[in-house]
């Protein structure tokens, strides 16, 4: 057994990291294609304000983070409805409120190290409660993602067309936003609020460079998120780096590797497209 697995905290870190990578990568594919890449930043910063409230009033900061994230996600949906032509503004406005609140409230928190652990995560200091929370959450996220895959795909492609086809767009969007909020707030404790947004978006961006279908985009996103997490944890153990930051940097490295792979593939690819059909050949 490798040295790092002889420590129970590293075993827990690997279980939590791998499970969260699976959930975050699945959610990330939809987030990116709904053109809401910044939602991770907005929610994770909002979760920090919940953490500060939890620490200030003496209740579990994770519960504070969950509450703040849910509230922020509902704010995003409400602003999106109010400004349908500027949907990205909804995320940006919530992001600035989240940062502002977290900044102001953190000034009142007596134990700064507690607060900082949520900024960069503390994957190696996971309590049994947090471990069970992550396992339950990831199972729910994966189950819902699998059940609503078809609906989420259609909404990502076109909300308007999905609504016309009978997809309950508002309900699906609501469920998806709640799931994202829950995942972000719980992941804030482990990988850290500041690196969630990169883990939500960068593996997807890398996957889009090489994937040849929506399903393979999900597959590659999970692959890149897992590689970043596993390598990040391993490096942090052996070299003594901060795990959260290392994971985020490695996911960026995956992106650049995918870009290089794509350019190499297009350079050496001799595959040619068949000629478009003639109009008279179109109909049997």
């Amino acid at each position: 057994m490798p040295l790092m697995f002889q420590y129970s905290y590293m075993q827990k870190a690997f279980v939590v990291g791998i499970l969260l990578s699976l959930a975050i990568a699945c959610l990330g594919v939809i987030v990116v294609h709904k053109r809401m890449s910044l939602i991770g930043s907005a929610l994770s910063h909002s979760s920090l304000s919940g953490v500060a409230i939890g620490l200030l009033f003496g209740f579990n900061p994770i519960l504070g983070a969950v509450g703040a994230c849910l509230f922020a996600s509902l704010c995003i949906e409400a602003i999106r409805k109010k400004l349908p032509d500027f949907q990205d503004l909804a995320v940006a406005i919530t992001l600035s409120i989240g940062i502002g609140l977290a900044g102001v409230l953190s000034g009142f928190v007596k134990n700064a190290s507690d607060f900082n652990s949520f900024l960069f995560g503390s994957i190696i200091a996971i309590t049994p409660f947090e471990l069970y929370l992550v396992i339950a959450l990831v199972l729910i996220v994966l189950l819902v993602f699998l059940l609503m895959y078809k609906e989420l795909f259609y909404i990502s492609l076109s909300e308007e067309a999905a609504a016309l086809s009978g997809v309950p767009v508002r309900t699906i969007n609501f469920i998806f936003t709640i799931l994202t909020a829950l995942t972000v707030s719980i992941a804030a404790r482990t990988v850290g609020a500041l690196v969630i947004s990169s883990l939500l978006v960068v593996p997807v961006a890398a996957a889009m460079q090489i994937a040849r279908s929506f399903k393979t985009t999900i597959f590659w996103s999970i692959f890149f998120a897992l590689v970043s997490t596993v390598m990040g944890l391993t490096l942090s153990f052996y070299i003594g780096l901060k795990p959260g930051g290392t994971i985020a940097l490695l996911s960026s490295l995956c992106f650049f590797a995918a870009v290089i792979m794509k350019s190499l593939r297009s350079r050496f690819s001799k595959r040619s497209l068949p000629l478009p059909n003639k109009p008279e050949d179109l109909i049997p």
């Binding site: 492609l157 086809s165 009978g166 478009p276 050949d281 179109l282």
Partner: protein, 279 residues
């Protein structure tokens, strides 16, 4: 006598955006099996009208019926296929295969929380075959031309076997050959499958030769020079039918019956009579 069946009925529609009237007193009917083109200036409300017909925007007043049923409160639009404006552009970077994109429209047929089966894949394949994209089943939109992407969007709605096809500016941004291919497909669907087609377009020169109705929605009156009469007359010599209908003009906001409207009559006398005569 059997009553005439209308695919789309629009009666006295009014719609204002930020208190600025966009559509006022719009009334027209599109018969089952028509190939109708809706034309008009930029900002005349063509796309708004389409969204109101589809129930995506509520009108301030008026009645819209699709296949005889009121659109207000209707949730099932499975009989209608809608290809929105710029939809081909919006999917140009979407990482999904043509088959995945077409399958998405079969949501109702597949059912919630279920995955597509063999039957659904066959339906998607048939739709891709109809638009001449069988070879592109496993290709992504990034590997297609603008015209092919537009036909892919058409295949997506065709898979659902709609009775009415509504297209918003489908010929924008694609070259002449691609426009001809698209219109050929639409014409065949209209003739062979008896699907009613309602198309918003600026490209009336091309579309007029396929359509049997031209609905003009414009602040300005429609000029004969805009309608290449030669193309119309030679392509579809329709008998005793008014292909051209003025459904809105600034001078006659209270009436769209061009027979009884003095402003329209005057306009048609000076510009449009030759069209009616030919048709």
């Amino acid at each position: 006598m059997k009553p005439i069946e209308y695919a789309v009925e629009v009666e006295n529609i009014h719609f204002a955006y930020n208190e600025k009237p966009i559509l006022s007193n719009i009334t027209f009917r599109i018969q089952d099996g028509d190939f109708a083109a809706i034309i008009g200036d930029n900002g005349s409300g063509k796309s708004t009208l389409i969204k109101i017909i589809l129930g995506l925007l509520p009108p301030d007043s008026g009645i819209i019926k699709i296949q005889g049923q009121n659109v207000t409160g209707r949730s099932d639009f499975s009989a209608v296929g809608y290809v929105p404006q710029n939809s081909a552009d919006s999917i140009s970077r979407f990482p999904a295969t043509a088959e995945e994109i077409v399958l998405s429209s079969l949501y109702k047929k597949i059912g919630p929380f279920r995955f597509p089966g063999k039957k659904h894949r066959q339906m998607a394949e048939d739709a891709l075959f109809q638009v001449g994209l069988t070879d592109y089943k496993k290709r992504m939109p990034t590997e297609m031309s603008g015209g092919q992407r537009q036909r892919l969007m058409l295949a997506r709605v065709l898979a659902n076997q709609p009775r009415i096809l509504i297209l918003d500016e489908p010929t924008v941004g694609i070259d002449n050959d691609a426009v001809n291919q698209l219109l050929t497909v639409l014409h065949q669907i209209n003739i062979t499958n008896k699907v009613t087609i309602v198309m918003v377009t600026h490209d009336i020169a091309k579309v007029a030769s396929y359509s049997n109705r031209v609905l003009c929605l414009s602040e300005k009156h429609f000029h004969e020079s805009d309608l290449p009469s030669g193309t119309i007359v030679h392509a579809h010599p329709l008998q005793n039918d008014h292909r051209y209908e003025h459904i809105h003009c600034a001078n006659c906001p209270q009436s769209h019956d061009s027979e009884s409207c003095a402003a329209c009559n005057q306009d048609h006398k000076s510009h449009g009579e030759s069209e009616r005569g030919h048709l």
